[in-house]
Symmetry: C3
Subunit: 147 residues, 3 copies
């Protein structure tokens, strides 16, 4: 078991085999040493500031990052191959009043830093949108650099 | 005529010379072997789930990808120079109820796979938004790797 | 003082030391020779087409690009290290009626071209959204290539 998976285990996080993409795309695509990770959405549905609280949305961002890691593991097998997290993009389904998208996305960013330390620190974009696939609350995609 | 243009011809698709960007940007920008393709919008306007059906939006995604290919051809001349499709990002103008953005974006993804085979398979993000330039239904951007 | 900072000075633009990120992310992240610049939002708040005019939003896009340049300077010290602007992504908080996101984003693009000339020309995505962090009008992120 690799170092990153050790840390996941210590955090009590288990990576389940991911469901295949719901449409015609890949979970991840490697180009040179960059790994482009397709967007996946949270199981949690609803709109932050309306049906969903900030705290619930932050937890859903954390859970969606675990889903992304499951997909990455399926494709690259060993998570220790990840050299650096370049960019995280998060879309948060938001009411017209909700403006704390950065605090929600921290649920995902904090896990990356716990797992990958300095290399897990990343550039980021947290944006509000009115709707997401399947009515989800959170959608995350990512760009990694592999060793 | 290149292999990809042969396939386009067999699919009955003709690449027309694209209109120049409406504002102060490039159609594509190459950096190293990556080609960043600027977002372009569909000719079809309206909101999916309100004025536009899922089927119409999927066709518009297909048509917008043809537009992107026209722009790429203008810049790199020979589409056979495309080694890999890294990432496709699609924004779909969606009513607050419409949640099948991935099925809409398949209209673009399927064409990439028809034209480029395994190398055309890509990472992807399909997101709903409330408004797009010129009231368009679909907006696509892309990252390619060139040979 | 470098060439780019000379041009900034001639334009009467002063880069102030940026505030640290409001959440758990970096201002920029370098991976290979690519610099991923985190999204930052405008000080101007409100929705274009409702509380904010197109002209005000364009000015806010210009001001947000100055903020991004301050952050980049803090991280890479010398702005002359920038070889190329690859991609600019702009989210514009838009009413359901406002469709001139490209014209708004020109406020940022034009500054890049003034400062970096041919190398400042870039691929771009300008998208409307219903809400942004802190109720901001403009959100910009960027990918640069460093020398």
């Amino acid at each position: 078991m690799g170092l990153v998976e050790d840390k996941l285990k210590n955090l009590g996080i288990k990576l389940a085999p991911p469901k295949p993409p719901v449409a015609n795309y890949l979970g991840t695509k490697q180009v040179g040493d960059l790994l482009y990770v397709s967007a996946r959405v949270s199981q949690l549905t609803g709109t932050v500031g309306k049906d969903v609280t900030e705290e619930e949305a932050k937890k859903a961002a954390h859970a969606t990052m675990i889903l992304l890691l499951s997909i990455i593991k399926k494709d690259i097998v060993d998570l220790d191959k990840i050299a650096d997290v370049a960019k995280l993009q998060g879309f948060i389904r938001s009411s017209d009043k909700f403006t704390r998208q950065p605090q929600v996305l921290d649920g995902a960013s904090e896990l990356l830093i716990e797992l990958f330390g300095e290399n897990g620190k990343h550039a980021r974009t947290a944006t509000g949108v009115n709707q997401l696939p399947y009515g989800a609350t959170i959608q995350l995609d990512m760009i990694l650099q592999l060793k």
